[in-house]
Symmetry: C2
Subunit: 397 residues, 2 copies
Amino acid sequence: MKCSSHNREKNEGESAPYDENTLKTISKRARLSEGEEAARRILREIYRYGRVGTKDLAYATRLPVPVVAAVRRELEKMGLVSRKAGAVLTSKGEEYVKNILGLSMKGSLLCEACSGKTIIIKEEFRSIVEKLERYANLRPRPYTWLDQAFGIPETAVLRALFMLEEGDVEGRKIIFLGDDDLTSIATGLLGASRKITVIDIDGRLLELISDISRSEGISIECVHHDLRKPLPNELRNTYDVVFTDPPYTIQGLKLFLSRGIDALRKRKCASLYLSFAHKPPEEMLSLQVAISEMGLFIREMITRFNKYEGAEMFANTTFLAKLETTEEAHPSIVGPFDGKIYTGEVSPTIRRYKCKCGYEIDVGISKEFQTIEDLKSQGCPQCGRKKGFKMIRRYAI
Amino acid sequence: MKCSSHNREKNEGESAPYDENTLKTISKRARLSEGEEAARRILREIYRYGRVGTKDLAYATRLPVPVVAAVRRELEKMGLVSRKAGAVLTSKGEEYVKNILGLSMKGSLLCEACSGKTIIIKEEFRSIVEKLERYANLRPRPYTWLDQAFGIPETAVLRALFMLEEGDVEGRKIIFLGDDDLTSIATGLLGASRKITVIDIDGRLLELISDISRSEGISIECVHHDLRKPLPNELRNTYDVVFTDPPYTIQGLKLFLSRGIDALRKRKCASLYLSFAHKPPEEMLSLQVAISEMGLFIREMITRFNKYEGAEMFANTTFLAKLETTEEAHPSIVGPFDGKIYTGEVSPTIRRYKCKCGYEIDVGISKEFQTIEDLKSQGCPQCGRKKGFKMIRRYAI
């Protein structure tokens, strides 16, 4: 890492092939919901790390992989970036980020010990990670129409430890609203909670959690239930802590948090842990308004806390927020809910990919391939290739 | 650190001198705005760390020092805690936290490298901390009526590095709305920004910042201005980044963020860094509603990021939030503002302290001693003692 030693005054008279409007142009062409700042961030990450693949760029910038790929293509067209086993700056690009954007630092200042997640997995908890690694392999194929995407085993353990540090595991009754990441198992293996309940709509997952729970002797209660229906009476006003990684739509958030508030024993400063995708600014605002409207506030919010596999549409990472109740906490959805909550229902989008063999494949909720991960795992129907697909069109149904 | 190896089912029939209502009783007696969860948190910290002083307890629980002291006294009365150079659990207390609260873990899981702040100060930036330590000693005595409280030098450097990591220093125009912590100096010393401006109502601080800036050659622009008046025209719609540690009242927050939005060059995902006290739940909610109403959202929120000296009323620590603009970001206060913004104006409170000699001293905005720190530094008017003051009454004016 290096910082140059003097503040730079921009030379206003200097003519350049690229100027500060270049970012705006890129952002318009790639239709970036985050505007010029996202284009800047992508260039910055390429400059800081030298050569970086599209998935890593997506993770670092919290932007969907196809969005990053689109920006990268624009940057290539403009001659700022070239592709050599990852994106690298051309000499023009290097000049642009140094002279116009003023970048000078290489590498990262994020804490290397915890990667900015605030919590570390001490040696004594390594065995839990190893167990989770074994158990994670037993998970059934994700139902993408339920917005399932599997968190990596380390994420489940980090979540459990984060809650433990916050005082929300020891002696606590904890409810997991959906748990395709097996966070309940990681939490149960800490052996410190009073009760753990998992509610899920997917019987396959509950069966797996039950089996593991039995063999580990951690007595997790599994409840097969669709949260669009109200919480069963015996689960209401009972729990100390809620954990959820709901469908990444505003309605999904409202519904799951509403059921969470119903599950909590009524008091102030009760914790609800929320994992959610880094959304475009307007949606981030809507979700925070929805949280406030339920009388909840954000106590902590750690960006890129959770990591997933095969979830390119949200950059394989989401944030972890610790929400707390006020005296006025109340569900915004009461009774049965028959609205749309899953991503595919709320904004059904088809993406058309082109294989290197020329074959074009539609990917989306109603198609043979529901996600790009499905396409990659099964391969091009014409030539069988499993990579190198390029998104050429995107449209709402 | 240890976790017991089995989940505990509470024995419902077991009779105990203390039960789960004990926390509620403590919370009522000490009039805790955070309710029973705060009482639990205090006991948990004492259990985890063995012997802990009131200031450290306040820091760990984010509660004002006098509030923690009041809870500690209740715990002493109940026989759960005794005082021996810090709070320690009695054997009854030990039994209570283990059997009723279910606590079993000692120590902390927070990352030791960064203490949960996500950023570390690499070796190459150590010289900036050393400089800040020298400069911090030159700061004039805080004007408590302006809600000044001095952040420690390391905090100023961590803030600057946090912004640098986020891409908000290199090539950026940054405005500091108030800067009694000299964060502008730490940022300037990174030598990577395009322009730094500091606005403050306190000419003494601006003089110091100017002097340091001149001797370090970092050309910080200082503007003497009361933010209750609108931003000077030449500062509007100009900056890339805002940093503020405003008065810890809702109006203070609204005013400073409004001026911040005015200062920003209009675009999405522009950053406003906000340091603010950990307030009781209802106030946390109000401040998040105020943030949303201005079309801003919280991107990250790191608890206890900032450390201060002599700021017992907010536990010597505040959070750091990175806010970002949406397309609809707009100030909620436009034009001149003649409302109250400082803590002492909004909720003028007098605290009566009793010295060990028996003398009683009123502390508050209109009194000889404005804060407990003033009293401690000048000593009891009767006997000269500089510590051991006990708060015996608290009333609003």
